[in-house]
């Protein structure tokens, strides 16, 4: 039974070991005392889901942009004013999967946790959960219903397993009641979950 037990001070030891490792790496000249904070700042301000939300909002208001996003995702991303121009680490090759009234897309990685960093930032915990990775492959409807999302049986689900060098994201459908919204207002409605297909974008105020 020992193999399945965790030590009682598991989290305290993890935290202390991570600090110890970072301290030693700074002392040995591997990284600087600012390296980790600077990386996290990039993910807070330059590479994150706020970029993906802008792409989705633009696709909702500009049909030509939506077509380009579907057919040549990188060309569409390059048109945006992102600091990475779209091609930052883990986003060298991104493909958009467009939701329609007939198709709902879901992104998974059954081997690890491939994720398009420049436009979505870092993957949320659920995406890395082995149960999600395993179950979404075979029973996506059941999995989505656990997220509170019931997909009509008449709608096709397309699941994309990112096991090579392409990173996928979903362009969700535009919600009702957003007729007069600006791109900025629309982008504020888009969540990372909706851009990986475990949620839809809810109408404002719901």
């Amino acid at each position: 039974m020992e193999r399945f037990e965790h030590s009682k001070d598991r989290e305290a030891v993890n935290a202390a070991r991570a600090r110890a490792l970072e301290a030693l790496l700074i002392e040995k000249g591997v990284i600087t005392s600012e390296t980790v904070d600077k990386i996290m700042a990039i993910f807070a301000t330059e590479m994150g889901p706020f970029n993906g939300a802008k792409l989705v909002a633009k696709a909702w208001v500009d049909p030509d942009f939506k077509t380009l996003l579907a057919e040549d995702t990188m060309a569409a991303v390059e048109k945006m004013n992102f600091v990475t121009r779209g091609a930052g680490a883990e986003g060298e090759h991104i493909k958009a999967a467009i939701n329609t009234p007939k198709v709902h897309n879901l992104i998974i990685c059954t081997l690890c946790s491939c994720y398009p960093w420049p436009i979505l930032g870092l993957p949320p915990y659920w995406y890395k959960d082995p149960s999600f990775r395993a179950r979404a492959a075979r029973e996506p409807r059941k999995v989505l219903s656990e997220f509170g999302l019931d997909i009509d049986p008449s709608k096709e689900i397309k699941t994309w397993d990112s096991s090579a060098q392409i990173r996928w994201f979903v362009v969700p459908e535009r919600p009702a009641g957003t007729g007069g919204f600006s791109e900025e207002q629309l982008a504020a409605l888009v969540t990372p979950e909706s851009m990986m297909g475990v949620a839809v974008v809810k109408p404002p105020g719901t």
Partner: protein, 240 residues
Amino acid sequence: MKLQHYLGGLEGLDPISLETRVFVEAWEERIFGIHTAMMALSPQLDLEATPSTFNTVWTWADLRKGAEAMNPFDYFKFRYYERWLGGISGYFVAKGYISQAELDARTKAFLSSSPAMPEGGDAKVDARVRKYLLIGDDPKRERTASPRFAAGDSVKVADPKSVEHTRLPGHLRNKVGIVDSVYPDAYTYLCDTGPDGIGPAMTVYCVKFDPEDLWPGNTEANFTFYADLFESYLEPATAS
């Protein structure tokens, strides 16, 4: 086989985690940052040299090899970033950057008190890390051979021997699918996976599978499964 490579479709698992945070413990972002810095400072990248003492290769493949080499019962016992913490600490010890005794002693010190973190380092190190994050490490290469398959072709997924690491999801081995699209150019992988077959640049395909072929009588209706697969994982499907 390693269970880590055969996750797709596994039965009898728990309900899904609905945790939307990226890091559930504060220390997790520290190990994430260390890993990212290692990838950025890895010497095979065509970026300007820095005074960092990091001089050995570290890529996603190294992280994945470490996680996949674990006993599966341990792999699933630990959270995602706990596996990173173990693998990355082990790498720094194995490569001689730090000793296990140093790490243990320092861990003990941080467990019993809160010593100040060391200060300093050369700004050129952080400049290179930033540059890596913003420009990436493009795996795309010019194609030297014509694609073996075209959209619409039936292909059978190969069943090569995997050693340390694979990019072939286990649930697709020996299954037949249809090429949905052929990606332009060719893509290299981060390391040579030996008999498993990837490493040098090759064509990559998006292949469409009927889930009923993958899990007969044990899957949902009205859904389609797509996977991106390197060419060496595919064979022509012969009529049976």
